[in-house]
């Protein structure tokens, strides 16, 4: 790996509007992947937080440059992004469903959340956090949605969706479906018994 290799990789990352993996960088630069990895090491130092206004980071299973945190406010002012409203609770829940269960259709999102998902889906589409991903084989062939690379960058997911915490670890204090089911079944059985207990007198009542 030469100094020039590092500079070429830096230029590729500067131009790219999506994270680039080692292979894409190697193909474009015309060097080996091992050389790319060395170049990345050099660039990580050059573009470390605090050392540069542009930070190199591992995100969405690739490498990408972004504005340093200290410059984010100024950049947001330049790009007129200050007025963007935070994600609503409904949008966050819908995003969680798409991220964990995607590609998923709007009716499926509505089934899981118990409410219609039209507005949150539209809002997430407009923000570029989810995108269409073909159509389902189910009746009616509803559109499917999946999360975007932009979603992985906004949420700083190093290896994309693989960096999301396993859903089972998220609500450890929450009972699992089997546990809830068995408790409810037990409760139903208990209630049935207690109603039967009064005997013939209750039946005649």
């Amino acid at each position: 790996m030469t100094d020039q290799d590092a500079r070429v990789v830096e230029a590729l990352l500067f131009l790219a509007s999506e994270p680039l993996d080692e292979r894409a960088l190697a193909d474009a630069a015309g060097i080996g992947e091992a050389d790319v990895e060395e170049a990345i090491e050099v660039l990580l130092e050059r573009h470390a937080p605090g050392a540069s206004g542009v930070v190199l980071e591992r995100v969405a299973s690739g490498w990408a440059l972004r504005a340093a945190d200290e410059a984010a406010l100024a950049c947001a002012r330049l790009l007129d992004r200050l007025a963007q409203r935070p994600l609503s609770k409904a949008a966050l829940e819908t995003l969680a469903v798409v991220a964990y269960a995607g590609p998923v259709s709007r009716p499926e999102i509505a089934r899981i959340r118990g409410v219609a998902a039209d507005n949150p889906v539209q809002s997430l589409l407009e923000r570029g956090l989810i995108e269409e991903a073909g159509r389902s084989d189910r009746p009616g062939q509803p559109l499917l949605y999946r999360t975007t690379t932009r979603f992985e960058r906004v949420f700083a997911l190093e290896e994309g969706r693989h960096s999301l915490p396993p859903i089972d670890e998220l609500g450890e204090d929450l009972p699992g479906p089997d546990e809830v089911r068995s408790r409810l079944v037990a409760m139903a059985a208990e209630q049935a018994v207690s109603i039967e207990e009064p005997g013939p007198a209750a039946e005649s009542a």
Binding site: E18, A99, R181
Partner: protein
Amino acid sequence: MAPSSALALELDLEPFAGPFDLLLALVLRDALDLGEVPVADVCLAYLADLEAAGEMDLESASEFLVLVAALLELKIRLLLAPDEVDDMPDAQEAAEELAARLAEYARVQAAARWLEERLAATGPRLFRDGPPALRPPRPVLDDAGTGDPQALAGALADVMARSREEAEPIHVLRRRLPLLRLLDHVRRVVSERGSCSFDEAVRGLDRGEQAAAFWAVLDLVRGGEVAVTQSEPFGPIRMRAAHAAHDHATGAAA
């Protein structure tokens, strides 16, 4: 949790005081007997809440309706467990469905909270956006397997072959045609032979020179030196020296 959510509804009931989501959690964990929960009071509390808020949040209202309906269905089945054993699995089914739905939804909420916290922790992240400059867009998932790879390769080969042809540079040079010489040429041929066809007169000339020769013929017709006749559109054009053409009407060239 956003205050607009039905789950945040504050309840003050005899067996329970606290937010609605806690009530649901307690029921699910078997810590609270659903038979003791007055669902009607939950609804009244929600209606009072709505009235106090002064506006109807459809999202929150539908969320509340779904939850309360599920809760009510479960309670009805619990309380009215009939003597017929046949109906029991139905009640169990309903309980299982509600349990599965609530447990699934609880995890979605936990995932949503994780995303919210993640967003707050990472802060605004700004990067170059827009259509990828270096990579083609990611293919839509269901496109896989819809086409014959051979046909695709063939189509690509055609396009590449065509683009190679189109890529050959063609230099268009300005060409000067010897108009006066062609004028003399036509005049000479007509006067020498007295009469001849246009095709004979221009034989051996290239396209550009033929076009210029035609202009020369028109100029000679205009000047009265030559008369032309053409029996039908695109038919052969016959030219004769004007002095030999007195008896002929001057025809229009094609």
